[in-house]
Amino acid sequence: MDQRLEALLQTIQKVLPDVDGIIGLKVNAAGHIAPHLFRKEAPAELDGLAIWPKYPTPDTLRLIQKAHPGAKLGMVVRGCEERGVVEMFKHAQVDLSNISLIGLQCTREEAEFCRCAKPYTAHAKLTVGEPIEGVPDPVTEGFLAKTREERLEYWKEQLVRCIKCYGCRNVCPQCFCNVCALEDEKWVGTGWLPMPLPPMYHLVRSMHMTAKCVACRECEEVCPADIPMAIQYRLIAGDVKEMFGYETGVSMDEKPPQLLVLAEGEFERTGLPH
């Protein structure tokens, strides 16, 4: 058994008696992996504990908590998933007062798969695995080196394949709205593939990811057209950090900056005319 998996199993076994259940990943008989709620009363299920491929488990927490608001739960989180629950907490979608986070540090291979800058947890009190440094994101960097015209061409090449499956929206743990602007004919028209340009779906989604995207890359993973849409979200996150000093998913109580009054020096950093 993988050493990290073994360690995770031991940690879960330690936590399980004190909680109603623990959210993690489980492999089924056919070898397919999905999120699962491991319960105290069914300890044998832990034989199927798995860690990869990852899934958007913050949404699993939201689903379970909606039905069982007071439940005492444990949850295995990677860095991105932890940031995910932090953002959802700030948007009143999950309650973390009864949740024990078990941090699972990503391996270098995993981090490289996700082009992840922060493959480690920051809030979880219990952690498994050694945290490693972030890895570069050559895709985003490569994109950044392009001129405006090249960027436009790049997206035309990419987005012409978009079949508007809404998979990126569906899988995103930060897309928890009851009603989605992307389904409103006012903002995103229907009936045409490839979608008419400018690509309203992707533009609106990029905007909505502001100060929300936790860089889990689930959207890219589920995209049947292999569109690297996270490039935009990541660049925006960098700009938001630069302009407003906000890092998504890091602090538990810092409010999303775009909702607030300008703080000292922010106006100057926006580059807007004075």
Binding site: R151, A181, L197, P198, V204, T210, V261, L262, P273
Partner: protein, 139 residues
């Protein structure tokens, strides 16, 4: 080359009145910008701006009160934080962020208003029509 088509979202209290002031002073500026009145620049959602581009606008303006003068005290602060991000989204999508003009005009600044309109119209005139850029096939 067709004339640029521009929509301006102007807040009711400062910039819209600034436009009125320009009118009362009989200042002349190009007719390309059609003004949509909103209560506050903070009311302008990014979706509204994007939809305007989608509708074929070559440029979109969001004009509000100067920071500190907002009729709603700090409504324009939100615009000042949202719009730069929208500009970045445009930039990363290969759409010239210059096509979105975010600026501030007080009710007294008729001349400033006329100048901003004139300058922005010129800026957009120098760019190709957006609909031309927004086609799937080249040439």
């Amino acid at each position: 080359m067709p004339e640029p088509k521009i929509i301006g979202f102007l807040c009711n209290w400062c910039s819209y009145r600034g436009a009125d002031t320009a009118g009362m002073a009989r200042l002349k500026y190009p007719p390309n910008v059609k003004i949509v009145r909103v209560p506050c620049s903070g009311r302008v959602s990014p979706e509204l701006v994007l939809r305007t581009f989608r509708e074929g606008a070559d440029g979109v303006m969001v004009l509000g009160c100067h920071i500190g003068d907002c009729h709603y005290s700090t409504g324009n602060h939100r615009a000042a934080k949202r719009m730069p991000v929208l500009k970045k989204v445009l930039e990363y999508s290969g759409i010239d962020p210059e096509r979105l003009c975010v600026n501030w005009v007080s009710a007294a600044e008729g001349e400033r208003f006329a100048k901003i309109i004139t300058d922005f119209t010129e800026t957009i005139r120098a760019l190709p029509p957006l609909t031309e850029e927004m086609t799937w096939t080249k040439g």
